[in-house]
Symmetry: C2
Subunit: 282 residues, 2 copies
DNA sequence: GGGCAGCGATACCTGCTGGGTATCGACCCA
DNA sequence: TGGGTCGATACCCAGCAGGTATCGCTGCCC
């Protein structure tokens, strides 16, 4: 199976429309149809159900969509990591660390400081990204290492070390009646009248259905809370950089959040090993 | 980057010889040379150092060898899992479980029995393989799930659940003086005169340098021990099927061995989920 | 109900490129 | 110094990826 065929199939499987997929791929529709047919013939498997009005995935097709994406990411990673290895050899080593914007910033700065103090440390570029993008970046080689937060982020397929565990707090507008409490329970904040939890975009950029305002990052989220339009349950460490018009109250029975440092398995970079070592000692 | 190019590069990187690599790939040498050059040009990276007498890997080349193998395994896995999904739809679901021949046989039979008793269980094919082959089989889709033994097997890149932990024993010929002891320490068996640890083949089938006889599987190993030519440190559970001419003595300070059940991440099969559930309840 | 619009499949052509053979040029060794 | 080994180069051919034109089916709407 060639990566070209995989790319074609993934495009069609995502669009469920040969014309749009072809456009996205920058080719005409007929060669795309033919390539998919040929892929199906060679696999001996029907991947798509076509009527002349709609295209849908078969069971096998959805398996190939999932596995094919992973395989394409692995190929991309091979490409990028090879290029970076060549750069590193000519004097620009460096690591790319990715984490969610606004999370664990204190831990992150301590980590970077500790690592920079190591004898043979390399430059670390920090990449801040949105919700759920980190796994992708790590998988396809755009990043070397990530800070993830269990149980929110999936650590499937990566090597990890736990860095720290913390409780969660509910973030409310300053002056909200509940901010007088020293601590709260989940039940107390499950359905605050007028303060729903916001909706985060899924990996494809669309928002789930339901109540609550849409938020794309922490800035938007905090503004919504300050406006009295939302509330949020976040790790304790967010208190460090909370705006003055917000207040946080500890939640006794919220699930704890574990920050882990994660990297692709079978990674041989000794710069990465050094960073992980520094991280576990912080 | 196309999988064809990756396959070509991996072949050359493994053989370090264009002619042999071309033969292995079933093509002539000139197109192979050209393909590799083209790959280097497109990546903008030198992958191989050629003199007219020898070929060697650059730093970037060895990165691409490692990453390329992983990517090719992922592509193979996509292929195999898609075919199997199609088979499953037409009535032959089934899981393939892989484990080291001769290890955890009691645990394995209990596990299979417990799972078979579940209401909607599917057939489980058991694949017994040699040392270190399991990760490969799991990664390239020939197996769905594996029993691995930490710290010997790498669980990098897989999801795992711990099943059980056990101590280790030293296996000696029956009648050896030390077999009279109720328990021993590592230091006692570190260098038994005339009874060295055997050498196991590496993943490429070659044996490491050093003293000790060569063994390929447990049968050979046990025979060597019975002949008074070797000794071995193995998990306790091996006592269950020890030959009568061998004896095992517990080691107090040997590292414990954890048997884990492992499967590829982002695997959605509910048959697999059922097997893992059964396993953790055993 | 018939015309129309949307969509995938088919037919057919063309040019790129992957693969083949022949040969060269460098290097080691006898 | 000549033969043997090995990768690179030159050149040719065929297969196939990709393009255009068009067909056939189907749901929709006046």
């Amino acid at each position: 199976m060639e990566t070209r065929e995989l790319r074609y199939f993934v495009a069609v499987a995502e669009e469920l429309h040969f014309g749009r997929a072809a456009q996205r791929l920058g080719i005409a529709q007929p060669p795309l149809s033919r390539a998919i047919r040929q892929l199906e013939r060679r696999l001996g498997v029907a991947l798509l159900e076509r009527t002349s009005r709609a295209v849908s995935l078969t069971e096998a097709g959805s398996v190939l969509l999932r596995e094919g994406r992973a395989a394409l990411d692995a190929v991309d990673a091979a490409d990028r990591r090879t290029r970076r290895a060549a750069l590193a050899a000519t004097g620009q080593p460096g690591l790319v660390l990715v984490t969610k914007a606004g999370a664990s910033s204190e831990l992150l700065s301590k980590l970077l400081e500790a690592y920079a103090a190591e004898p043979d440390s390399v430059t670390v570029d920090v990449l801040l990204c949105g919700i759920g993008e980190q796994e992708r970046l790590l998988r396809d080689g755009r990043a070397d290492v990530a800070l993830l937060h269990r149980p929110f982020d999936s650590t499937a397929g990566f090597d990890t070390e736990e860095l720290c565990t913390e409780g969660q707090v509910v973030v409310l507008p300053a002056g909200h009646p509940l901010t007088g409490q020293p601590r709260l329970r989940m039940a107390d904040v499950a359905a605050l009248p007028g303060l729903p939890r916001p909706r985060w975009p899924a990996t494809d950029g669309t928002y789930p259905e339901g109540p609550g305002p849409q938020a794309r990052d922490n800035t938007q989220l905090f503004q919504l809370i300050a406006l009295g339009r939302a509330s949020a349950v976040l790790p304790e460490s967010c208190r460090a950089n909370l705006r003055s018009d917000l207040a946080a109250v500890p939640l006794l029975d919220a699930p704890t959040v574990t920050t882990v440092i994660a990297w692709p398995p079978h990674s041989r970079s000794q710069a990465l090993a050094g960073l992980v070592r520094s991280a576990t000692n912080v």
